[in-house]
Symmetry: C2
Subunit: 302 residues, 2 copies
């Protein structure tokens, strides 16, 4: 079923203990869309890039069934650029550079042919922009999910809370859930978020797995035990992409099916962190994804 992804398409420069990159393709929208391409095609994308964006990257995205009609290319601006450095344990990072560029005044224009959107994934963006997308869609999608980050809690909490109240599912990490609710225990944090509006909350715990909450129900998916985490950039976006696109593919937003979706989200994230940038998400075979799904199940199977 039709999936619309709204999120940044960007350049990242990344340094990890394993090496460093120049400006490579990145951005939440890119990770979400590429991941989603393994479950549904086309993947419709609304985003914005600048005059420095590469044709080769657009061609690559198109080759993965990503529809770029909604990707605005601004002749008078540069692409959003983020640079970061990971510490030795890969669990913390320093942001070295953030240049918003064309993302600073992003107006999310939705092409008419995306109006039938049934599944909407709002990647981490200003909550004002996220809300605008919801308001601009002529019909309510079957499921709207959003990601966000601590930055918006610091500078735009009221707007963020308003946007959260309008979505069906919030997907955030553990630190953000704690900051958003003031609760350390994740079961309490989840309950407070559910009371803010969303029927579903997914809390990502990085190398410690992810939790899915709905009403009083909880489901947990561990993280795979990887030999090397090469670059964690985009893992959370990849998780969200796998989650949402699996639901779109199966056209089934039930809690039971969301359990499967968080496993697929985790499986895709495990590919993501094995290489720099989006590289781990390229050229995967369906059989590799199914093998990894099976590995997740085996980890907890009696």
């Amino acid at each position: 079923m039709s999936l619309l992804v709204v999120g940044s398409v960007a350049f990242d420069a990344i340094e990890t203990p394993f090496g460093k990159t120049d400006k490579i393709l990145g951005g939440a929208g890119t990770f979400i869309a590429l991941t989603s391409s393994y479950f549904v095609r086309p993947v419709n994308v609304v985003s914005v890039v600048g005059n420095d964006f590469r044709t080769a990257d657009i061609d690559m995205m198109k080759s993965y069934g990503i529809d770029t009609t909604g990707l605005q290319i601004k002749a008078d601006g540069k692409t959003f650029f983020w640079s970061g450095k990971y510490h030795n344990d890969m669990n913390s990072r320093d942001t070295l550079i953030t240049e918003l560029n064309v993302l600073g005044d992003f107006d999310p224009i939705i092409p008419a042919e995306y109006n039938d959107c049934q599944y909407l994934m709002l990647g981490n963006l200003s909550p004002d922009v996220q809300r605008l997308v919801i308001e601009r869609l002529p019909n309510r999608p079957k499921l709207i999910a959003m990601d966000t980050m601590n930055f918006w809690m610091d500078i735009a909490m009221d707007s963020l809370v308003q946007t959260i109240s309008m979505v069906d599912a919030l997907i955030i990490n553990d630190g953000e859930a704690r900051q958003l609710t003031g609760e350390y225990a994740l079961i309490k944090a989840a309950r407070k978020i559910l009371a803010m509006g969303p029927k579903t909350v997914v809390i990502k715990k990085g190398e410690h797995g992810a939790l899915l909450f709905q009403g009083e129900e909880v489901f947990f998916v561990p993280a795979l035990l990887l030999e090397e985490v090469f670059d964690p950039t985009g893992a959370g976006d990849t998780f969200a992409g796998g989650f949402m696109s699996y639901i779109a593919k199966t056209d089934n937003p039930s809690f039971e099916n969301m359990k499967q979706a968080v496993i697929y989200g985790s499986a895709m994230a495990s590919f993501c962190v094995e290489k720099f940038g989006v590289e781990g998400l390229l050229g995967l075979e369906q059989s590799q994804i199914e093998e990894r799904y099976a590995a997740f199940r085996k980890l907890v199977a009696l």
Copy 2:
């Protein structure tokens, strides 16, 4: 089947964000033995206390089927005392006081009636003392498991490595596994520990669950989502006690049965942290333990 627990019986004074205690009953041996009493009785204990130890505590332990024949009471010394303070997130703590007292020159004398020991759980103690216990047993138990801590890695690494090479199962936490092996990725750390001798490694990740390794096999048990972690003291010992005594009860040290054992260990640890000291381990009904076991399974059930 007969279970022997060797570990400290001590006094703890604990401060958490929820309150503080005077000297209360603690010690790895105490937590392990009380937990084990829900699975096998009698629980044989080899330990040492001083002249300040309370008859009421010994009586309580006896009432839980703990055989205290091997509990030496030193008239000329005081009981091992530890005092610690937990930080707000309960994941880190400061040790305020460590008084080894009678534990400083502990000679683990094994009563003749414990000689038939089939399952041996060595709680965190000097690796010299742990090794002495193994050497003093006339027959090799079916399964020997040991816990340890970073302290022994700092001051007695050679002795520790020697003791580890003599046991069947090492049960340690994630930070200790990393320190012991110099590997950050737990799958690599586990592999290195397996190469040191033990056939089985259990890595405890606190609020993030626990991992069971044997050969190329891995099993993961999540931690329950508790509303409050009141006092984490003894949770790791309780986990080890539940793990080992479940195996002793079922008299089955196979990998498949160890999977069940780590779930029971986690279930018991979840009771432990809900109250101060050993309080959470007192007066449990078998049905409560089974309910919690079921909650663990539900968390990952499709």
